[in-house]
């Protein structure tokens, strides 16, 4: 690397002051705005999670009342889903890196992008305002099932509106990314030369775009029912509560792939970089994202197997559920195969990516149990489901998010965190995570229902273990957060390409300049991950 390269002012330096941030049109700054806001809400909701675990340490009342507990898990679920995990990867890393990886200087609609962030903040304010105003946060669970959500006196209307606004924000982000990918790729980059992270975001964006409106309208119907008495779902004034469930899950199942696909995109970036070789089965990974997105639209009924669903409908939904597992399996095999004959540099981001695979395997395979009709009847609405979704959402998507944070950290801030501490934090997180959630799977198999403030004495031991695990987890998170802050403030300067990555973001300086590139980026020969230093086996 020639030493005479002039360091352009980075996007941090070009302008200063609060307004230069909250009214910025720069996709990198918007990504960072999202990072801080999402991180904040994650910590709030995680605190609520810890509170629940403390309450569940012993049967009976430990800390909080039953009603408070119900509000806590609802708020925990709503924040974690709508404010943390759905926007997490696309809004933070998608915003920051998609344009750079495509070799352009911004998304297609920079103003709309800023507007999405403002909507996000507005939605967050709505969600949090339920804490202060009226009769407290909703106590319905994040699913807002009718008719309870119509009857309860808590602030359901505001919570539901919050979800509606956040959905709108999510739609606009998706729309922006689709147009960006179609219109702004650097000359010479066809769809099949795109990095897999971009592919993952492309598939995700279509889900955001085509599934979110359905929940939007459903939530509006709940509002209309509560405010105007338009009784579309409450049977005592005409409606059918099962129909609500259909509409809710038409969105909310595809939504789980909004959480999972970008995370998989990150894993597909991290693994080739640290194996220093091309990804195995580029096309299989790229197209399986689209396949998951598509098939994922037709499986929602697996959340309703015990609602009195008919045989034929149950068959269709169950089969389709199993079919989504196949493209996912393909991805997992491809990742593992990418390690084969690599020259592996074991660093924290890679550890997070591999932990993703392990946790996601447990999450996904327990998903298969849930997809099987007979088994689901037993474990539906038990802690087995709670275990399943924490494994995929936290152990999977959450770990990928942390992995991305460690992977792109030097690019975003031009500094490096302390790698030893990062390793310790990772170990604590991994152990803590599994100690917290594995017992939940067993609890579920034994028949402990979810959303239970109190439980029968036979479930005591495993709950103690789970709560104990959550303490390790907290320690891990605290260590990680402190380490990252310390690294950002006074870490060693990082080179522009510390991991020897090959996708376009590693061709610009760290942190990138305002316009991302000060010369045309060059596409790697023979595919986005074709490492020139590696031996070529085929062709």
């Amino acid at each position: 690397m020639s030493e005479t390269v002039v360091q352009q002012p980075s996007f941090f330096q070009t302008k200063k002051g609060l307004f230069s941030w909250i009214f910025t049109l720069d996709h990198k700054r918007i990504g960072i705005l999202y990072l801080y806001s999402i991180g904040l809400f994650f910590l709030v909701a995680a605190g609520l999670g810890i509170l629940m675990r403390l309450e569940l340490l012993n049967p009976g009342r430990d800390l909080i009342e039953a009603q408070t507990y119900n509000q806590v898990f609802t708020l925990h679920g709503v924040i974690m889903i709508f404010l943390f995990i759905i926007p997490s990867v696309p809004a933070v890393f998608g915003n920051f890196f998609l344009p750079i990886m495509l070799g352009t200087d911004d998304v297609a609609f920079p103003r709309l992008n800023l507007f999405s962030w403002w909507l996000y903040i507005l939605g967050a304010l709505f969600a949090l305002s339920t804490l202060v105003f009226g009769d407290g946060p909703a106590d319905t669970g994040w699913t807002f099932y009718a008719p309870y959500s119509v009857k309860t006196g808590t602030n359901v209307t505001t919570s539901v509106l919050a979800a509606f606004i956040l959905g709108f924000s999510s739609i606009l982000t998706g729309l922006n990314f689709i147009v960006t990918i179609h219109r702004l790729r650097t000359p010479g980059m066809g769809f099949n030369q795109m990095p897999l992270f971009a592919w993952a975001l492309y598939a995700t964006s279509w889900i955001q775009l085509l599934a979110t409106p359905v929940i939007g309208i459903t939530l509006l119907m709940i509002v209309a029912e509560r405010v105007f008495g338009i009784g579309l779902f409450d049977p005592s004034i005409g409606g059918d509560p099962i129909l609500y469930q259909h509409l809710f899950w038409i969105y909310s199942h595809p939504a789980v792939y909004i959480m999972a696909l970008p995370a998989m995109g990150i894993v597909s970036e991290i693994i080739p970089t640290f194996a220093q070789r091309t990804i195995f089965g580029y096309k299989a990974i790229a197209y399986s994202s689209m396949a998951i997105a598509f098939v994922g639209y037709f499986v929602w009924g697996h959340h309703m197997f015990t609602s009195g669903m008919s045989g034929p409908a149950a068959i269709v939904f169950s089969i389709m559920t199993f079919f989504v597992a196949i493209p996912t399996a393909v991805k997992v095999f491809n990742w593992v195969a990418t390690l084969y004959k690599g020259s592996i540099d074991i660093q924290v981001p890679l550890l997070f990516a591999l932990a993703f695979i392990f946790n996601f395997l447990i999450g996904g395979l327990t998903g298969l149990v849930l997809g099987a009709l007979a088994a689901d009847v037993h474990v539906h609405d038990t802690y087995f489901v709670v275990g399943h979704f924490h494994y995929v959402m936290f152990g999977g998507a959450g770990f990928a998010f942390f992995g991305a944070l460690h992977y792109w950290f030097p690019k975003m801030w031009g500094r490096m965190y302390n790698k030893k501490v990062a390793n310790t934090a990772f170990a604590l997180l991994f152990i803590g995570f599994n100690t917290t959630y594995f017992p939940m799977l067993i609890l579920g198999l034994k028949g402990m229902p979810r959303r239970y403030y109190d439980y029968l004495p036979e479930f005591h031991d495993l709950n103690i273990l789970s709560t104990f695990g959550s303490w390790i987890l907290v320690t891990g998170i605290i260590v990680m957060v402190i380490n990252l802050f310390a690294g950002g403030l006074k870490g060693k300067n990082a080179s522009s390409n510390p991991w020897n990555g090959i996708t376009l973001e590693w061709q610009t300086q760290s942190p990138p300049p305002l316009h991302n590139f000060d010369k045309m980026p060059e596409l790697p020969e023979g595919g986005p991950y074709n490492y020139p230093n590696a031996k070529n086996a085929d062709h």
Binding site: G190, F191, N192, L243, A313, V316
Partner: protein
Amino acid sequence: MNGKEKNTENTSAHAHISSYSEHFGTWVALILLTLMTVFISTFGADLRTLTVATAMLIATVKALAVALYFMHLKYDAKIYTAWMIVVMALFVFFLIMVILDYITR
């Protein structure tokens, strides 16, 4: 390189200008179809069981006319038509799967 992608970009580069008379013709057809559905449903007693189906069929023809001519789908890049078909198919799948649960319940 993705060949298809390039093609669509070229065709939409010289934007097609629809003529006034084409718009007018579309309008006439739409009005006629509207009057036809109203007529069938109010006076066509012998078509009783078919009315829903015919009404939906006519509505779909009208919607196609609006989409193809007023919204220029016919002359625009093919990708919009393709997307439109996918979105509509998705919606129809939703309908089918929900009604499946209700019919057989």
